[in-house]
């Protein structure tokens, strides 16, 4: 059950996802109406904004498409819809959850995003660690700040994209928020971050790489065309 209009890139992606699901039903021989309106909505479901209705000889389906489990959880009408639809002879409710929920998304449900002040604190701590000779560990902390900055930009820009670091990075690069150089250097630093997180010993880490990550995070968080060190 979603708004019927489409105005943001994420809405457009959701529409594409609904179309893909609709096509799957068509491939199985169903006639499909995407976003049914008015008389297309059966009287028992009046008042609900439905994603699609699929019909095939004597079999009718209301299909609800959710991006992930969190999206499903936030729909407080879906259980009511299930009771109503499944009680109708010949009708059933199908719910399709398109994406798995990542560990980061799960963790984010129990911990808030950092404030501006807290984000600066994370980035300062990373630089402090790098200055003191702990560049590998600084890389992990710097990436924490960078992830928060990337999530914030993704949400403010209403960009569609997953919450895991690699996909966040690709989303921002794909939407022009990161240059090719930034993307490549962040990928390099992410490799180090992952090695340290998993208890491995990375090759020698240049403290400048840590500062590159923190500078990029500050740039993304500021939303300004800030200069990012090239080396």
């Amino acid at each position: 059950m979603r708004p019927m209009s489409s105005s943001s890139p994420s809405d457009a992606m959701e529409q594409q996802a609904i179309e893909r699901v609709a096509q799957r039903y068509r491939n199985e021989g169903y006639d499909v109406i995407v976003h049914p309106r008015g008389d297309q909505i059966p009287s028992f479901a009046a008042g609900f904004q439905l994603d699609l209705i699929a019909t095939r000889s004597g079999e009718s389906i209301i299909g609800e498409i959710k991006t992930n489990r969190i999206d499903l959880s936030s729909d407080h009408q879906i259980t009511r819809l299930a009771e109503i639809v499944n009680a109708q002879p010949g009708w059933r409710l199908d719910v399709i959850v398109l994406e798995p929920e990542t560990a980061v998304e799960k963790a984010a449900q129990e911990a808030p995003e950092p404030t501006d002040e807290q984000l600066i604190g994370i980035l300062n701590a990373a630089e402090d660690l790098a200055d003191k000779g702990y560049a590998p560990y600084a890389c992990v902390v710097a990436w924490g700040g960078l992830e928060a900055a990337m999530r914030r930009l993704r949400d403010e820009g209403e960009l569609y994209g997953r919450t895991n670091p690699n996909e966040l990075m690709r989303t921002l690069y794909g939407n022009g928020f990161l240059s090719r150089e930034q993307f490549e250097r962040l990928r390099e630093s992410y490799k180090i971050r992952s090695q340290v997180v998993h208890g491995l010993i990375p090759p020698k880490v240049d403290p400048e790489l840590v500062r590159y990550v923190t500078a990029t995070a500050r740039y993304l968080a500021s939303g300004e065309e800030a200069a990012v060190p090239s080396n």
């Binding site: 992930n68 489990r69 499903l72 959880s73 729909d75 879906i78 259980t79 009511r80 299930a82 009771e83 499944n86 059933r92 409710l93 199908d94 719910v95 399709i96 959850v97 398109l98 994406e99 798995p100 929920e101 990542t102 799960k106 449900q109």
Partner: protein, 69 residues
């Protein structure tokens, strides 16, 4: 995991679990992408909550049993 669940339903749902002629068991991550066909309210409520859960559905046996490929 299946046997204790079947045993627990003896005398409540059936006399004995030997009456079961067909059963399917799947393990799915609570965080997985998934399609819920004929999604019931109780299943959706459990899935929305995000905690691992056990869902048991008892039905009449199908006329023809199709073995997994």
């Amino acid at each position: 995991m299946v046997k204790p669940i079947r045993d627990a339903m003896s005398k409540l749902v059936y006399h004995d679990d030997s009456q079961i002629c067909y059963s399917e068991t799947i393990h799915v991550s609570i965080d997985a992408a998934i399609k819920l066909r004929r999604a019931s309210a109780i299943l959706l409520a459990a899935f929305s909550k995000g905690d691992e859960f056990l869902y048991v559905r008892i039905d009449d046996a199908p006329d023809v049993i199709q073995l997994p490929q």
